[in-house]
């Protein structure tokens, strides 16, 4: 190994400057490209975080004035912000839980059972993903008005369940298609009834897909503005609140909330990586 490195070094020194520059470029192009891509992706987030420490003069948080921690210390100083964030979290949590349960069962029904209307269900479930949000929002609103349902928390919840279900069904279905049915048969063969089989075998094997779908659904629920705006009535979620605020003033506390969401997400991801690498390490030892 070391001999080869030495050889390479000798060869390199004998090469011309041009060739060496070319080699350098070849070796580092990918690194530079990746770095640029990361900067492109992360720069807007960095700006959001940076401006959460801004000390703005006036109503708009668009120009850097000076560093302060006040925005973080008094994150709910803005009237209505705390309520909006709470509502967003409540709706995202509730609708994700309901949609995950519903979507998992729907995916299993669609993949495993040949019932009448299976094809239609398949298409209907996919529709919320394929329809422009603005159309969905408008149609939902006219539906609620026609049915004389008062818009508010309940209607936002229903609308969010609708599109989260689609994400869950799509991800779980993909996993189920490659699922070895013999595994469930083996569980039953070994004395597990249907429920135990589901709990001990089916669910653990589906859980990565369910979790992925649920996280995606949760994030989109927190983020959704267009559909929510139509069906929100007097209720304000975080995006709806920001939209309303932006017309008169954008307080830096909005950046604080956005930064927090980002930091929490990153923390979860990092913890996940650490846990799974620890687990892999333990398995290596056990082997």
């Amino acid at each position: 190994m070391s001999a080869t490195t030495a050889d390479t070094a000798v060869v390199t020194s004998r090469l011309g400057v041009g060739a060496r520059a070319w080699r350098f470029v070849k070796r580092h192009t990918l690194t530079v490209y990746a770095a640029l891509a990361f900067i492109y992706l992360l720069l807007p987030i960095a700006v959001v975080i940076l401006f959460s420490f801004n000390d703005p003069v006036g109503r708009f948080n668009y120009v850097w004035q000076g560093f302060t921690l006040d925005n973080w210390r008094e994150w709910d100083a803005v009237l209505g912000l705390r309520e909006a964030v709470t509502t967003s979290l409540q709706i995202a949590t509730l609708s994700t839980i309901v949609a995950t349960a519903l979507g998992t069962l729907m995916a299993m029904a669609i993949v495993r059972h040949h019932f009448r209307g299976r094809g239609t269900t398949n298409i209907l479930v996919f529709l919320p993903l394929a329809t422009p949000e603005i159309v969905l929002g408008a149609s939902l609103l006219s539906l609620f008005i026609t049915a004389q349902v008062a818009t508010g928390f309940g209607t936002i919840f229903v609308a969010h369940v609708m599109f989260i279900v689609s994400f869950i069904v799509v991800t779980v279905k993909a996993r189920l298609v490659g699922f070895d049915r013999h595994l469930e048969e083996a569980a039953m063969d070994l004395g597990a009834n249907e429920w135990t089989t589901f709990r001990k075998v089916t669910l653990p094997l589906l859980s990565p897909a369910i979790l992925a779908g649920a996280l995606l659904g949760f994030a989109i629920s927190i983020d959704d503005f267009i559909i929510t705006y139509f069906v929100a009535g007097p209720t304000q979620t975080f995006p709806v609140f920001v939209w309303g605020a932006a017309r008169v003033a954008v307080p830096p506390q909005v950046n604080v909330i956005a930064s927090s969401i980002f930091l929490i997400a990153v923390t979860i991801a990092v913890v996940n990586v650490i846990i799974s690498s620890l687990r892999a390490g333990r398995q290596q030892q056990g082997a």
Binding site: E185, A186, D189, L190, G191, N193, K200, Q283
Partner: protein
Amino acid sequence: MASEGAGAPVADVRLEHVVKRFDDVVAVDGVSVEIPRGSFFAMLGPSGCGKTTTLRMIGGFEEPTEGRIFLGAEDVVGLPPYRRDVNTVFQSYALFPHMTIEDNVAFGLERKGVARSERAGRVAEILELVGLGGLGKRKPKQLSGGQQQRVALARALVNHPRVLLLDEPLGALDLKLRKQMQLELKRIQHEVGLTFVHVTHDQEEAMTMADRIAVMNGGRIEQLGPPQELYERPATAFVAGFLGASNLLPGTVEGPGAIRLDSGELVRADVNGRTGRVAAGVRPEKIALGAGGGANELAGTVSESAYIGVATQVVVRTKAGVMQVFAQNAGTGGHVLAPGSPVTLSWSQDATFVVDDVGGTDRDEEEVT
């Protein structure tokens, strides 16, 4: 239960006219069989003949379209797999990928409510038995195909079921390990006294392991009996061809002990009540080169002769058809027969079996394998 004849042993597994249709495919076509307690039963047949389907109906994964299935005295049709005292070793192993080997093997015991401490002991014991001691902490993906297969075996065996169903459990093993596991399986079966139903398409495996073999073809049982009977007295041309090599000579029954071949010669054989068109069969190793081997004689010319150490393989062209002969090299010198030299073949009446005619003399060459 009351209808069982007094004193007659209750079969552990009994199928009565079991039929299974998948839409337009008839996978199993009227199978009836009784498998006595503690026996090693093999189902042998070519790919797609319905072996796995039959096994799945016993295990409870498919319901028969027609017929009844008994485990002991109980009709189990309609019972889910977890209510049948049967365990299966699946053709594809079906190990739980998210559990360790230990947890896989302990799964059945856990369902039965065996205490954790006892569980650990029994799991370690059975893993030792299948030669996987010390690998219990691994995941199935970290094992080779053969090791996975042995885990599947251990996972079923550890439950001491009434009947163990094995769907080609040795398929992924190399020849040496395969032979070793065959003996091991036999030993385990004797030791624990379980009833084994073993599916395979390897005739040698079935012959060495089973007390009784059912040869299946096209969803039906062609013949059922101990290995020796199937080999010495095959009932159909299919069985004769599937279990080893054989020579089949078409002819017509002329009397209780005689068949007139199409080529004119008379062959002595126990026709077993058959009449009309039949084929007389004889195994290549039961034919003597030269006269004096028995009541049946055919004259022909050698067309090929190959010395293969323990025997000499000779192909002889006769008027009745092409005959294959394995002459044991018991003496010295062997049978060096030049192609083209005339030879007389002879064999005894006892060595001759009779099967239904397979239609047309052109089948002969195919049957000589």
